[in-house]
Symmetry: C2
Subunit: 320 residues, 2 copies
């Protein structure tokens, strides 16, 4: 569709965006009324919100609107999965300048729809308003399917630490992009469009996970939340971490230890979980460490040593 958001107007834009949507059996009432209605068979609903701001969380010259949509959906759906729940629905709050080409929000919506589809969820509603900076606010809903939510606070000494999904791929891709390159493609793609292991969330809950978390700020930083909430010491084993040869090549090319991407890169939205020691983990869960008794304060170590770049991503840190 040609023209700008301002030319199309609020109701025209809403019509254009909702025309692109698909539905699922869980959608009792989709967009077009005061609110949507979504099935919650468990009698509880899991809900999370994330906001992405242009220039801070994405750049229009690095990511297409479609990819921003995929990514915005992915990070919210991953939060639902990391509670052990199955995602059911997304809602979009969108701020766009009036001079934005209509294609931008349209393709954003296509990305949201397609990523929701990967997780068997659907976009059910939203709001579009005018403003100076493109801002994408997503809420995701999910269903626990009769299981208890898997929180950050249940890890126990003796548990094994395992991860499903990718670690460090998005960070390596970003390192490539910030240096003006567009390849290796697999890593650039991983940055543009993460592939969280949605099914691993409910599957991990069914396997008896004692704690679970979406890795959004970096492995060490996010495990720090689990350690603090559970009152435990979590030790990651370097030898168990997967550093692909091509990631090592990028590291050499740009002068960065690739282990840093694996330990502090967050945007792949892997899921980390702790399990009782005797659990038989299927192949999608890779054991990467263990839970120990706290000696001093709850903490995360790598091969028993503090990891000094554990800060992860501070959303209020000065840019650059």
């Amino acid at each position: 569709m040609k023209g700008t958001v301002g030319e199309l107007g609020e109701f025209g834009l809403i019509k254009e965006l909702t025309s692109r949507l698909t539905s699922t059996p869980e959608v009792c009432l989709g967009p077009g009324d005061d609110a949507a209605v979504v099935a919650a068979p468990d009698r509880r609903v899991v809900a999370t919100t994330d906001v992405l701001v242009e220039g801070r969380h994405f750049r229009r010259d690095w990511s297409t609107a479609y990819d921003v949509g995929r990514k915005a959906a992915a990070q919210n759906l991953a939060d639902i999965a990391a509670m052990g729940a199955a995602p059911t629905a997304l809602l979009l709050g969108l701020v766009v300048p009036g001079d934005t080409p209509v294609n931008w929000p349209s393709e954003l919506m296509d990305g949201l729809r397609d990523e929701a589809d990967v997780a068997a969820a659907a976009v059910v509603g939203g709001d579009v308003v005018r403003g100076d900076t493109i801002t994408v606010s997503i809420t995701a809903l999910g269903d626990l399917r009769g299981r208890q939510p898997v929180t950050r606070s249940g890890a126990r000494p003796g548990d094994v630490l395992a991860v499903a999904g990718w670690l460090g791929w998005s960070a390596a891709g970003l390192a490539v992009l910030t240096r003006g390159f567009r390849s290796p493609r697999a890593f650039v793609e991983a940055h543009r469009r993460p592939e969280p292991p949605y099914h691993a969330g409910p599957a991990g809950a069914a396997l008896g996970a004692t704690s679970m978390i979406d890795i959004s700020d970096g492995l060490v930083a996010d495990l720090g939340h689990v350690a603090a909430a559970s009152g435990v010491h979590i030790d990651v084993r370097r030898a168990l971490l997967d550093v692909p040869a091509q990631m090592s090549d990028i590291g050499r090319a740009v002068g960065v230890d690739p282990l840093r991407w694996v330990l502090t890169g967050g945007e792949d939205h892997a899921i980390a979980a702790t399990f009782p020691n005797d659990v038989k983990l299927p192949a999608r869960w890779r054991r990467i460490g263990e839970v120990r008794t706290v000696t001093a304060a709850p903490r995360v170590t790598v091969d028993g040593e503090p990891w000094d770049q554990a800060g992860g991503w501070n959303h209020f840190a000065t840019e650059g």
Copy 2:
């Protein structure tokens, strides 16, 4: 708390904001994990999202952060009520510049909490990120308590049209404020802090409402959505509309027909509904018109005539 959001940092701000929250029995798991868990006893959840941008939907010199919080919560909770559902939870997506005093988001959260409390709901989660323009994105959830959702599409010829809550008060208050005045206080307060009739939503559903809508864009404009979705003609009777004497005084003072505020002012978040003709409406619902058979196209009239200022609020219209 002193200092700026940037000085406090992301995790400090989240801690400060969540420390202000209260809970309800419907909150199974509050803030602090990957997602919240909220009771959905009906096995369906009602969900809606609205975004407010500083300079467009609120001004910091006209409204305190607390009032912005009350208002942002109110407009979302009213959408839930207008489906016939009882609000249960709010989620906040907040964009703030780093140099914003911490008091601003803190007082915003107090406002969200207190307005949620009025509706027997609770703030259960959110996200805070840094950006140039304060942007408040709210998602509200609700429970249908075993009743079917009341949509915009069920109005039938012969139904009566009724409204619960206030009409035109916020618009009259805005007219006062834009002219540099701070009184009459009741209208200025109505603009700063609307009081949607939350309980009227589920009560209206229980009374057998055939259609229901939150008046957010103006009575005539929003009834237009009901007329279109239901395929009916809705006629509003001028003589049945309540125009308080003080509103007429303001109208004379600023040279505006106060009926215009009543017919096109949206931000009071009244609830309009249609009911079978034989329903006995309790006092909180005031009959203001009727539903007729369509002759040409679905439409809304006032005393049988088109209302020529029916456009309501277009969120992409040029400012001023």
